[in-house]
């Protein structure tokens, strides 16, 4: 009986040690993390504009609604951060039957990328980028069509980054 109790204690201690070794699922260096659902919009924002139109017309710090397809390079997602490139929906990507292993890199339309590609950064309430990959955070993948609403950030070279607090995923 005593032996059984000692064994049970050992098992309990071992279990505690193992649990203690595990990484905290909420550990992050940037942003508040938060639950994935809080960054996903339930309803589609009205009157979204394409990436190309916003690159041409948007101003710095302007509130914009942008629609686009995740892609523009072989790896459009930034590892460890909720940030990804999106491409204007009017730009066609390689179809499956063409045998391209990475159609989301738009390899046949590379020369059009400069004026049709923007970066989306998912940020928390304080405007800090969320320190979790967008694939895990939003459940999106390459070529997913998304609509984002947020603040446009323009630089002197005309590049566009949208700081979005919510992302609507088109089915």
């Amino acid at each position: 009986m005593t032996l059984n109790r000692i064994s049970a204690c050992f098992v309990l201690l071992a279990a505690c040690a193992l649990l203690g070794c595990g990484q905290s699922p909420t550990a992050s260096t940037q942003g508040s993390g938060g639950s994935s659902a809080s960054y996903i919009a339930e309803t589609e924002p009205a009157n979204p504009k394409g990436v190309r139109e916003l690159i041409k017309a948007s101003k710095n710090d302007e509130e914009v609604t942008m629609v686009g397809r995740i892609g523009g390079s072989a790896s459009p997602f930034v590892e460890g951060l909720a940030a990804f490139s999106i491409v204007d929906p009017a730009i066609p990507y390689c179809k499956g039957e063409e045998g391209c292993p990475t159609p989301w890199d738009y390899c046949c339309e590379l020369e059009k990328m400069k004026e049709n590609k923007a970066l989306v950064k998912v940020v928390d309430g304080k405007g800090t980028p969320v320190a979790k990959g967008a694939k895990d955070l939003l459940g999106v993948k390459e070529l997913t069509m998304v609509v984002v609403r947020g603040k446009a950030k323009r630089d002197a070279e005309g590049n566009l980054t949208v700081l979005a607090e919510k992302v609507f995923i088109k089915k």
């Binding site: 390079s73 072989a74 790896s75 459009p76 930034v78 590892e79 460890g80 951060l81 940030a83 990804f84 490139s85 590379l110 990328m113 400069k114 590609k117 923007a118 970066l119 630089d155 070279e157 005309g158 590049n159 566009l160 980054t161």
Partner: protein
């Protein structure tokens, strides 16, 4: 009462000595088969090792987005290095020196002393390059000055030359210019050892190029790599992409997956042929000993004991062959340089190669001995005793 009475150990050993010619021939056959396995596994390990040690997890390379995975095809603006160092905070800095290496990288036809041209890999470097390429060690001579280059220790193999032909003071010719060799370097077995390094400005002038192929950045922490990726994606106008060096070589490794698969298939085929050789030998050995095996059973040895003795003979021979093959491979084949498309690598008989080679050798003995021994033991004792 359940203990098994085995035949004396010496019985099996003496049996091998009774037929010296057959034993020596079998030993030779098994040695050749095992040696082939050693060489093929050494080839695979050398290739894997070369690509896996080539990446430094803290180094990020930035190159043109249109170049796919071929840095040779990349062309980026010369100002990129300055832009990156001014914009990114995670790059390693020591004593005010930023660890960023702008580089030109090309595959070009190289000839040495009027020899035939071979495809060589040339990298234009600066004084900052060794800060980023931390495995590089100058093993002979000095850093290249104007009109000079230094060569990696596997360049001779890559160009199909003898090592002496790239001695310090000799010349190499590429892109209509002749360069004096000022030194030789090693890089911890990485792909850099197959490259020729010259001054970046010198090469740019010789090639009439103002651009770069890539910028290599040493990050203060490997976790800072996403910062570079974010910058590249933000600056769409620069058309850049970034990859950690380890990821770059991992991608290259996937290109060589069919070669590795083929090499493992060769190992399987060679081992299969070896098993048949072993089977043939053991069938011959057992067929001539039918009466002896029956007699052993008649005097009270169980079938399992006789089977164990037969396997012992085969395994002894296979172990001797493995040791012999291992010694030959280590002395004559280990470290031999082999050319391949993106450089050269050394055939590497590491612990895995030795384990696979020896295990295959021993397996040949066991698997080769079992079927004929089983066949001999399944015959009736009385009939076997009368066999001629």
């Amino acid at each position: 009462m359940f203990s098994l009475r085995l035949l004396p150990w010496e019985y099996g050993v003496r049996n091998l000595m009774r037929r010296p010619t057959r034993t020596v021939l079998t030993l030779a056959a098994l040695t050749i088969v095992t040696l082939l396995v050693f060489v093929v596994v050494g080839f695979i390990r050398g290739l894997e090792q070369s690509l896996s040690v080539s990446g430094d997890p803290a180094v990020v390379i930035v190159y043109s987005i249109g170049a796919d995975e071929s840095v040779e095809n990349s062309a980026i603006a010369a100002r990129t290095a300055g832009l990156l160092t001014a914009s990114l905070e995670g790059i390693q800095k020591r004593y005010g020196v930023v660890h960023a290496s702008p580089e030109l990288y090309l595959g070009t036809r190289v000839s040495v002393g009027g020899s035939d041209e071979s495809l060589g890999l040339v990298r234009g470097v600066t004084d900052a390059t060794p800060l980023v390429r931390r495995r590089v060690r100058l093993i002979e001579g000095r850093w290249p000055g104007r009109g000079e280059v230094m060569v990696g220790k596997l360049v001779a193999a890559k160009l199909g030359l003898k090592a002496g032909e790239l001695a310090i003071g000799s010349s190499v010719t590429f892109d209509r210019h002749t360069w004096r060799i000022s030194g030789q370097f090693s890089a911890g077995g990485s792909a850099l050892e197959s490259e020729i390094w010259g001054g970046l400005n010198d090469l740019q002038q010789a090639l009439n190029r103002q651009d770069l192929s890539l910028v290599a950045l040493l990050m203060s922490d490997a976790a800072q790599a996403p910062e570079v990726d974010l910058f590249c994606k933000q600056r769409t106008d620069l058309e850049l992409q970034s990859l950690t060096e380890t990821a770059y070589y991992r991608k290259l490794q996937t290109h060589y997956a069919p070669v590795r698969a083929l090499a493992w298939l060769v190992v399987a085929l060679v081992a299969g042929a070896g098993v048949f050789a072993g089977l043939n030998m053991m069938y011959g050995a057992v067929a001539g000993r039918t009466r002896e095996i029956a007699m052993l059973q008649a005097v009270g040895y169980r079938r399992r004991a006789v089977l164990a003795s037969l396997i012992q003979e085969a395994v002894l021979l296979a172990c001797a062959a493995s040791l012999l093959a291992g010694a030959i491979a280590l002395v004559f084949f280990n470290g031999i340089a082999i050319r391949f498309t993106m450089g050269a690598f050394a055939l590497r008989l590491d612990s895995v190669a030795v384990l696979v080679g020896c295990a295959t050798g021993v397996l040949l003995g066991v698997v080769g001995a079992l079927p004929p021994a089983w066949k001999a033991l399944s015959a009736e004792v009385a009939e076997s005793l009368k066999a001629i």
